[in-house]
Symmetry: D2
């Protein structure tokens, strides 16, 4: 039996003025296979309704609260209800929202970082297992085709035995105290009550940690972080430089910054093995450079037949026609939806075969954030060995 | 009265295995405001039905032929019928399909080049006027935000009086006789019966011509083309180098090539004025470089507040998060849909205010193609002054 | 017998304020093997003396005129006299100066373009043969190691059968009428009495023509030039766009411009074969890119063992330590000096084995300049087949 | 009184097969104002003599040992003797050689790092003062014009209050155990007896430290280093990652690596202030990028009138004609020679006005190397506050 319809989803968060909710919606819409059919777009019922109208949704599926949404959707017959929920609220609400939907038996796609505490993250791991739902975290940068190519290359041994990894995530948008001027994105990210223990490590450092693990399969062993707040009166750190030791003797540097003035979203990674090195930059994501000790540097380009199946499966259009951030993001949605559809068709599914970040990846990320902040505060190496509940 | 629903469209062409149809569908879907509800996806009714099923469409709206589709859609009440049709067939069918829908009073979005003859192009101009429909041509490269910024800069006089324009469109994919191996895209593009008088000039040279006119507002005055076929037994040209003279004493070079081996889609333009110059490359579309005689070169980047309203209106996500080809393409759909929605709401609309290529642009393109080939064949300058029926 | 001393040379031109003379002196000095020992640096004896003093030269070897210099140097015993003369006067004086030294039996290094008329160029060819002197022209761009690598690649068939060549030489420095403000470099280059029939084609177009021939070995067959003067009241052309046909069915575009505002010295070349393509940019001369239809683009980098002997012989320092314009220029001097030293040691020498531009290359260049201007004026294809006296 | 002659120097080290000696000679020769007249090129008298012959030097000025050279040169009348000595031996010999020449009253140009111990470095500081000689260290990367522009920008406050500095120096040439194959450059750099306590920090980390101080004027306050040896059986470290704290609350990352496979000499720096940021890459040294929070990124290019006097004084040829490593190196020689000439003319000179690295800079560098290694070994922050004897 084939699933003769689009995958249907609802959204929590992403109301008027929100940024990331709109990105999720475009990413989900891109391939014409996933349909938004409802949501609780704001904790303010009126704003939620307004958003629903703006999105041309059926009024009956626009809810006053996420609790109401979870309850009512769960009560609908399977042929009507949402196939998954997309959680795009501020970070501090992720846990409660996810818990509610998981307990209602509804699959979840959640923005990162997953939760504000390690305990909550581990609780979600257990809940996902208990209720047997599909859970995906939108570490969207792993959706880029050339990141998938990089991963394949490492797996194939093209770089040889890995030695050193330099992963950088400099942004400059918080160089000024935007939170004092009330800029929405800045306010919640620098507010401990909502962002948790960390601003820059949580917001983007966690992407850097995840990208390394995604490409190399390596977990951190220990870490030394130099954490700092450059902007006066800011309550959370805005710059973090880390010495990192991975498994298998691999070492490197990981840094994330929101005060690297003039940088936009210059996430990049260099990985050095004993045979070759790779370099990838998120701002020019369609190319991947490989450097050798004894032959010319190579520029691999998205969409070409010489790339791996993993990369080309994640690609939509021919070489030379640039793909971007939304396309990469859409790959997370596409892969989750494939898993959801397979299960709806009654298939036995193996989550690890679908290539999207899981609830365990989320827990690893939350653990990373807390340990990095701890290292910075105590000026000491911290042990990073950790296994989330599986 | 607001239009409380998505814009609905149908598609002609874009059946199984087609490339550009899928791009159109993704571009239309991206913003969640346009909905595909039917189509005649192939001249083979079975293939059309198969595609409809694959796209999860209502079977009643999937047609055996475009003629049937035009007739039946036109008979539906306005609240049910498609708001426009998207024509993505091979070029030689554009004319008949467009004519049929226009005469049925249905708005049209058509792929380029618009028709295979100037006569047909002019006929479409007249029909569009007569039946008062909205008609858009997908010169999608004009949808890039930084192209719109370039246009604004020229309009604002930032470059001063223009002098020289170099526009290049090198591709390498036809370096081998792919048509002999039956590669679908290669076969029809090199077949005079379907592609018309030209391969490379029609396929990509016309984008180059259009981009110059879009950014500068300048029309060609005269042209000298050196046209050549490098691959043995190919029936149409695969390389074209042109000396071009525009209005107002502007001169330059325009070239398009399918045998520039190793090039993917390296469409690029440099415009030199007497105050400054600009340079833009399609393969890295999020930046636009401006060069001055007496101060540092500047790199303008998509999404920044310092850009023009025209550029930022065409932008979806923050700086540093790359947008690509599909996003640019989606801007054509978005702008057409705005015009369609405004008219559906009963507003008086001025097509020139919506920023999408029109039927007249299409006629200029077809005229350009024929004159370029004529110049190449006769080894002479050709007069390019031309005004399509308006 | 080894030559147990440095090669000695004198200079004509290059007095106070001259630009290119100083570059020649640095290029000659770089390797510590060539010594400047005298000169006639200006037609004004006082300025010549002043320059000699500034350069710490022996006053006896600083002359009032080039005629005096040629005569007196020729009369010195071989163990004292200059081994060659470097001619760096304005173009219109090249012929007389070169002729004088050749007739005195003294080897010559001459700046380009060689002469202002084809007749003069051919006369020099004959004189060089008659007096059996070594004559080199400083088409310095051929001195870059990665240009030599490009040449080797073409010879080795790495690109396959050549098809298309695009060579561009845009500069912007004459966007303003600098000659009206008395800027020395601008004044003589735009003055027909001194520059001859051409400004931009002579000054830099000739480098473009020469680079193509150096790398590919191809001579022009026919050419169509669109020549224009953008700056009011300028007496010579400042922009030239050409359609070019080479031997063996190779085609392309050659352009040179002095009004490409904001461009500095962006000389670059792309060569497309039926197997691969190469691309080189003078402003980043240490890399050479190779593009393939079916594998990643490669970046070849100066100084690496994987390069050809031709490239590495022209290289001075390890990879990653950039070499520049002066180093390339020095390679011309170095190669000429090798020929001079070999002859001084009494060896039989074969000029073609030393890799520097010859008097015949100079004549080809002058012929090119005149035919390009002729084509532009008469708006017609010109036959470029030409063999200078050998 | 003007100095009516070239500056004369002798060299210690730089015999047959040496790399850096040849670079020094080319750098000194480039401008035609400095003349090599003698040397002790090897500890093996025969090799020294051979090198002297190869360099066409007067046999009387080619010595069997540096001790002999220092003594005999010092005894020559000022009008004959060398004006300075250039010390390009392996590092462990720098101290003895420099000491000998300083005590003989001869000015010194010394390669870096200056000595293998802090004690020796401080002893040189005292000796330079006592004997009142000119002493320069060839931290050659500070000779690049765009580095000087960067320095000027920081001084002028263009970046605002500095916050973060990321300086990277990745090389890959020691990814393999070249020292086991007897590669000369690798052997001594990884041998503690000759290289001292450090390989990569001494060889290139010290350049990174110096570049930061040169551009920003900031000294290190404290440092935490993660030091590692990746290649089996190598006696010294080949990778070093450091967290660095400078004066005035500036923080950052400094890393140096010889196992970053595929990297050639990718020395680069990014400096972030609260107004703007700068970025410079040694492999493309003719440009300097400036990034702002609210306007387009700028590319400053060498040789332009809009640059500072400091940058343009260090520049030789027009914009767009690339300068490289040797030209930068030559600027050190040129500035030292100016100081030497001024003193020879009897002028009172102020060393700090000549823009070359001094003996104190050398001591700071040696101190940096030792403290970085100490931090790495003891896994602790080290206090970097230090003032060399002045």
């Amino acid at each position: 039996m084939k699933l003769n319809r689009k995958i249907r989803y609802g959204m929590v968060g992403g109301g008027p003025g929100a940024f990331i909710g709109e990105v999720h919606r475009k990413a989900a819409a891109l391939d014409g296979k996933i349909e938004l059919i409802g949501g609780a777009f704001s904790s303010d019922p009126q704003k939620s309704a307004e958003m629903g109208k703006q999105l041309n949704l059926d009024n009956n599926r626009v809810y006053d609260s996420y609790q109401q949404m979870a309850q009512m959707e769960a009560e609908l017959p399977e042929e009507q209800r949402i196939d998954f929920v997309s959680v795009v609220t501020p970070n501090h609400l992720h846990f409660d929202v996810c818990k509610t939907f998981i307990e209602a038996g509804i699959n979840v796609v959640c923005d990162k970082p997953m939760t504000n505490t390690v305990e909550n993250a581990e609780e979600l791991c257990r809940l996902v297992k208990e209720h047997d739902v599909i859970f995906a975290l939108t570490h969207n940068y792993t959706g880029y085709p050339m990141v998938k190519e990089a991963r394949q290359m490492v797996q194939d041994g093209k770089l040889g035995k890995l030695r050193k990894i330099v992963v950088e995530y400099p942004q400059g948008w918080l160089s000024e105290p935007l939170e004092e001027e009330g800029a929405k994105q800045a306010v919640w990210r620098t507010d401990p009550a909502r962002a948790g223990v960390s601003s820059v490590v949580a917001d983007i450092g966690s992407h850097a940690e995840n990208l390394v693990e995604y490409i190399t399969g390596l977990r951190l062993k220990e870490l030394y972080a130099d954490i700092h707040t450059f902007v006066d009166d800011r309550a959370l750190e805005d710059d973090a430089n880390m010495l990192v030791h991975y498994q298998d003797g691999v070492r490197g540097i990981l840094y994330a910054s929101q005060i690297s003035i003039g940088e936009e979203n210059d996430f990049n990674i260099r990985i050095y093995g004993d045979k070759a090195a790779l370099e990838w930059h998120q701002e020019t994501p369609n190319t991947l450079n490989i450097k050798y000790p004894d032959k010319p540097e190579e520029i691999y380009k998205r969409g070409n037949p010489y790339l791996s199946e993993a990369a080309n499966k994640a690609s939509r259009i021919p070489p030379g026609h640039p793909e971007g951030f939304i396309e990469a993001f859409a790959n997370i949605y596409s892969n989750v939806s494939e898993a959801v559809a397979d299960r709806l068709r009654g298939e036995e599914i193996d989550i690890s075969s679908y290539d999207f970040p899981t609830v365990q990846d989320g827990a690893v990320g939350v653990h990373f954030i807390h340990k990095a902040i701890e290292s910075g505060k105590e000026r000491k190496w911290v042990d990073m060995q950790y296994a989330p509940p599986s």
